[in-house]
């Protein structure tokens, strides 16, 4: 490590990137995929060995958005010990912001043909657009809101929670309560977000048909590149002195306070950044899936995200991405083959990972076991054993 510090003193970003083997592999795959998948889908005809079918595009796009959500959870849970069981709320809010834009894009092509009001508002006999729908006919405004609304909610929620020093399981419980409260609110027709049915029947985005292969390819590539960018931002944060403070908070919060750091500001910063990333993930998810409804706020959905991170390997960032792909591929497979079995499998997977792979799938790969000694990881099993022994010695 010392070598790298000195060698790449002039280019710190290159320095930490070269040390981050998992991150290099992840970025390589994302960039290669961004080039090869559109070629495979658009240039090779159906039946060719290199053809990427459209249904694969849909799955990949979905997994990439989930991976970004998992990344955002790992940033706060893996590095700062904030176990949010309500991150699905930020994802859903980002999704709703994009959904509102897509609804406005439908224009007069809806069932009722109203040029301004979405179908569900006409159905409810509303005469004019509620004020909070203003501006969502502009794409850039919708994108801004997809980041701003989750960010502001996380900032206010975090400000109150962290200032009152709510930590650990208590914080997890109030994040669950937050997403559940939003679930109930969005179920109400009076809220003006389509109630139970949510927002759907989207036609196009920026004038491009959402069903066309070209648009789908662009959305998948956008998701992959956004995941790469957010990975770099997250890695930049965790590699900085701020990231070291976050890990220190995770390990010994009171010591950080007595060292003179204002712990609540650090938590607030990373919690807000993480919520913005979750919002971006939701905004990318909705045009590819074609619907957003209050189900995304379900407490169970947020808990599932934590399982993805745990399966992949907490505190590594790339592990969260891997976990999201593994668990969601398994979900696609099981819900297709034996749907009743899926939840048993998910529960069993979580128990197995907790018992046998406490550092997730990534931690079980020897090449990464060593790399995990770096910042953010609680050390490999040898280190853990040594520290356990040392602690035993201390107590004796």
């Amino acid at each position: 490590m010392t070598d790298y510090r000195q060698k790449y003193k002039m280019t710190p970003v290159l320095g930490w990137l070269l040390q981050d083997r998992g991150g290099m592999i992840l970025l390589g795959i994302l960039l290669a995929g961004s080039i090869l998948i559109p070629i495979g889908n658009l240039m090779f005809p159906e039946g060719s060995a290199f053809h990427v079918p459209t249904w694969v595009l849909g799955l990949l796009g979905k997994y990439l958005c989930y991976a970004l959500l998992a990344l955002s959870v790992d940033l706060i849970w893996g590095f700062c010990g904030i176990l949010s069981l309500g991150h699905g709320a930020f994802f859903a809010l980002g999704g709703y912001a994009m959904g509102m834009y897509l609804m406005r894009q439908i224009g007069d092509r809806g069932v009722y043909g109203d040029p301004v009001l979405p179908d569900f508002m006409v159905f409810l006999n509303w005469k004019e657009l509620p004020w909070y729908w203003y501006g969502f006919d502009h794409f850039s405004f919708a994108i801004l809101m997809a980041m701003l609304v989750p960010g502001v909610l996380a900032f206010v929620f975090g400000f109150l929670a962290f200032r009152s020093r709510v930590t650990g399981v208590y914080l997890s419980i109030i994040t669950q309560a937050m997403t559940y409260a939003l679930l109930l609110a969005f179920f109400r027709n009076d809220m003006g977000f389509g109630g139970n049915n949510g927002l759907t029947d989207f036609k196009d985005i920026l004038g491009f048909d959402l069903q066309s292969d070209q648009t789908r390819c662009v959305l998948v590539v956008a998701s992959a590149l956004m995941l790469a960018i957010c990975y770099l931002v997250s890695r930049g944060i965790t590699q900085s002195r701020l990231g070291k403070v976050l890990i220190a908070i995770r390990d010994a919060e009171s010591r950080v306070r007595f060292t003179g750091y204002r712990v609540e500001y650090y938590k607030l910063f990373v919690f807000t950044v993480s919520a913005v990333m979750a919002g971006i993930a939701g905004a990318l998810y909705v045009p590819q899936i074609g619907i957003i409804n209050p189900g995304e706020f379900a407490p169970a959905a947020s808990i599932e995200v934590v399982i993805w991170v745990a399966v992949g390997g907490r505190g590594t960032l790339y592990g969260a991405v891997l976990g999201a792909f593994i668990v969601n591929y398994a979900k696609t497979f099981f819900t297709g083959v034996m749907p009743d079995f899926w939840l048993f499998f998910l529960g069993g997977l979580f128990i197995a990972v907790t018992l046998f792979l406490p550092k997730g799938v990534i931690g079980a790969i020897p090449a990464f076991g060593a790399a995990n000694g770096g910042p953010g990881a609680p050390g490999n099993w040898r280190d853990r054993l040594a520290s356990w022994r040392a602690n035993q010695g201390g107590k004796a």
């Binding site: 490590m1 220190a248 306070r257 060292t259 520290s387």
Partner: protein
């Protein structure tokens, strides 16, 4: 002006000058937890550059006293002044740490997932802001200070070791080193030699005496041998207030102290 008033103002002037000479001024502090009076009208003063040992049986209020000075607990009544002017009862932990008061916990508390070097880096005095930390670059001056501290706490060879892998005694020293990096003017040390071997204990006494040359240090300790090694003024706490104060030899001869320590 009447004589009585003159005497009164004379007395208050003396109190003022006493305050002016103190780095830590604790006066009439009381705190109650659920009906239990942890501190009862506690008063004592620490002078700049002084090394002070505080002893007392379990439950005497030693840790509560530390909590109050460092802003973790608010007193029900009484004054706590730093350098005779800053009211510590109004500030929180981070403010008090940044004023120059460092605290070492009873159980060694270091950042286990970080290397020894990074532990010291995080404690290094300087900007504590979120964005300062985000864009921080390791400077030469910081590096030099970390190297100096590594030498002081004798962990120069362990700089790239994860703190989790240090021995118990090494962790205690690392924590003391982290406090030194904060450049405190007042250091509060809670049972620094608990769980240490004899030679480690001796080394720690030397280290603390060395540190006390340039700053004030308050040590809470059970170990009488260690307190003797420190060779300093001793304050005995009992049931939340000061029972006796003076050199260890004279304090140990005090019948009330003997009763508290041996009478039960």
């Amino acid at each position: 002006m009447s004589t009585a008033e003159e005497l009164l103002s004379e007395e208050s002037r003396m109190i003022q000058s006493e305050k002016a000479a103190t780095i830590l001024y604790v006066d009439g502090v009381s705190v109650t937890f659920d009906g239990f009076r942890a501190l009862n009208n506690l008063s004592f003063y620490v002078e700049p550059g002084e090394l002070r040992a505080i002893i007392g049986p379990n439950g005497a209020g030693k840790t509560t006293m530390m909590d109050i000075i460092t802003g973790k607990t608010r007193p029900d009544s009484g004054d706590v002044l730093f350098k005779s002017e800053v009211d510590l009862t109004k500030l929180d932990e981070a403010d008090i740490a940044n004023l120059g008061i460092g605290r070492k916990f009873q159980k060694p508390t270091v950042f286990e997932s970080h290397t020894v070097f990074d532990n010291l880096l995080l404690a290094c005095s300087g900007g504590r802001g979120v964005f300062q930390a985000l864009f921080h670059r390791l400077g030469n001056r910081e590096k030099q200070r970390i190297e100096e501290t590594l030498a002081t706490i004798r962990l120069g060879d362990a700089r790239e070791t994860l703190a989790a892998n240090l021995s118990h005694g090494q962790k205690q020293w690392l924590e003391i080193g982290m406090l030194l990096m904060q450049e405190p003017q007042l250091l509060l040390v809670d049972e620094p030699v608990a769980g240490m071997t004899d030679s480690e204990t001796e080394q720690t006494a030397i280290l603390l005496r060395e540190i006390a040359k340039t700053r004030s240090v308050v040590v809470v300790e059970h170990d009488m041998e260690f307190v003797r090694d420190l060779d300093c003024k001793v304050t005995v706490l009992h049931e939340g207030s000061v029972l006796a104060e003076g050199r260890l030899d004279s304090v140990q001869k005090d019948p009330r102290v003997i009763e508290v320590y041996l009478g039960r």
